[in-house]
Amino acid sequence: MKKILNDIDQLVEDMLNGMVAAHPNELKRVPNTTVLTRKKSPESGKVGLVSGGGSGHEPAHAGFIGDGMLDAAVAGEVFTSPTPDQVLEGIKAADTGKGVLLIIKNYTGDVMNFEMAAELAEAEGINVKSVIVNDDVAVEDSSFTTGRRGIAGTVLVHKIAGAAAMRGAELEEVKLVAEKVIKQVKSMGVSLSPCTVPASGKPGYSLGDNEMEIGTGIHGEPGIERTSIMTAQEIASTLFEKINHDLDLASGDRVSLLVNGLGATPLMELYILNNSLSALLKEKQIIVVDTIIGEWMTSLEMSGASITLLKVDDELEDLLLEKADTVAFKRGV
């Protein structure tokens, strides 16, 4: 394992300090926690948005703190959900009196820790609601009750719920629009090579020289199939088919696209993938209203990419295109 770091035990600490050092006007730490929050808190009267999860997905989640997206992000150890006491600190930092929405990715650990935190916050008199993102269509099994994982689609939930909150919506409304996104957002990824959790020192799985895996999760959870390496075109159509099995898009439908690199895949390849994907959508007369491309929900240095499609209506499109000014994601500023 070769990584640029100092002390493996201080990894998250060092990262958070490095973030604040890089963005001193945008971010601040809540002392003695792993919570980052806005440097200047939003005016009271705005619903607070809190997200978070294990570290190793940067810029998720703290990179999305700022106008039009999140108010606080809680970082766990690498690929490990943060604990309830930390999430509680995040909730407190984001609350301006109008309540807080927790955006949780659907992993057992995240759900339990965030829900325990919500219980603690309620006990302190803060109005907390939560939504659980489960956009990864790789997982599908009726005998399977854990449900689908939350992956890159989470970024669009941040964006749209964040826009609604910025415009002054009430907690219940923000929650409803977040749930609307969650219903319409579907993702799936492929991995070409694994990543290594620093504390473990070994890659999470191995892939042959000519192998790739379809449907890998953002923590290296196994996907649905191993195949030999596919072309960009084949990847685009394989992922699209699986996503569209759920979305059932028809000619004339409008979608927003997120092409997400998992960490080590060059932007060049993401654009090539997008070229294949957008040709495919054009052929099916599906209208792409917006494309976000880059690294947004990574898995350390995993190589591979995921595709996210969100079927939009006027409300979602409008909120999606609303301006945002965060550390990692800026739009129309």
Partner: protein
């Protein structure tokens, strides 16, 4: 049997030893069918627990378990943190009802509180290839026999038995059939917990 603060600390220190020693193994188990952090998560928790034990003294086993609960909840993270945390919180509360001197069947009822709270927190049941598949038979075994080796034997078989189960909870569930053939990491760490309990009872408890 006498099971007060000292014995409870001894139990958890023994647990700490096993987890630290087998940190890599636990992580490997989790790597095979999960995300490879169970050993790391739990080792961080029990290390902190040892610090807590060093720094404070306790009146009762209940107090010890309460401190353990807080440490698990705030230091472990992931799925196992809240699960062990909830289990120890509920066990701590139940222990208050009994004396320093407890019977094996009282111990069973304490452990059952733990099992129930894992079930509730994890929305899981027996047979889903989780730590519950060790907790449940152990609770049974404790209520059946006063011999501490009995529940250990049961725990061992149950832990090994998770190999055959197809996961439907936790990260391993994403693997479907491919989860078969691997021991569940949380089942393994729970086995260490009960192994530590067995040793404590046999060595310390009079």
């Amino acid at each position: 049997m006498k099971f007060g603060a000292d014995e409870a600390v001894a139990w958890l220190i023994a647990f700490q030893g096993k987890v630290s020693e087998n940190k890599t193994y636990l992580t490997e188990l989790d790597q095979a069918i999960g995300d490879g952090d169970h050993g790391i998560n739990l080792a961080r928790g029990v290390k902190e627990l040892a610090n807590v034990f060093e720094a404070s003294s306790f009146e009762s086993a209940s107090d010890v378990l309460k401190a353990a609960s807080m440490t698990f909840i705030s230091k472990v993270g992931g799925a196992s943190g809240p699960l062990y945390g909830s289990a120890f919180l509920k066990m701590s509360m139940k222990w208050k009802e009994v004396d320093k001197d407890i019977t094996m069947s009282e111990l069973a009822s304490i452990l059952q509180e733990g099992e129930e709270s894992i079930k509730a927190r994890g929305k899981a049941d027996v047979g889903e290839k989780t730590m519950l598949d060790v907790w449940h038979p152990v609770v049974q075994a404790c209520s059946e026999s006063d011999d501490a080796d009995h529940f250990l034997q049961v725990a061992k078989e149950a832990m090994e038995g998770t190999k055959e189960i197809r996961a439907t909870k936790g990260r391993a569930a994403y693997l479907g059939d491919r989860s078969i053939g691997h021991i569940d990491a949380g089942a393994m760490s729970s086995y260490y917990l009960f192994e530590a309990l067995n040793e404590t009872i046999k060595e310390k408890v009079v």
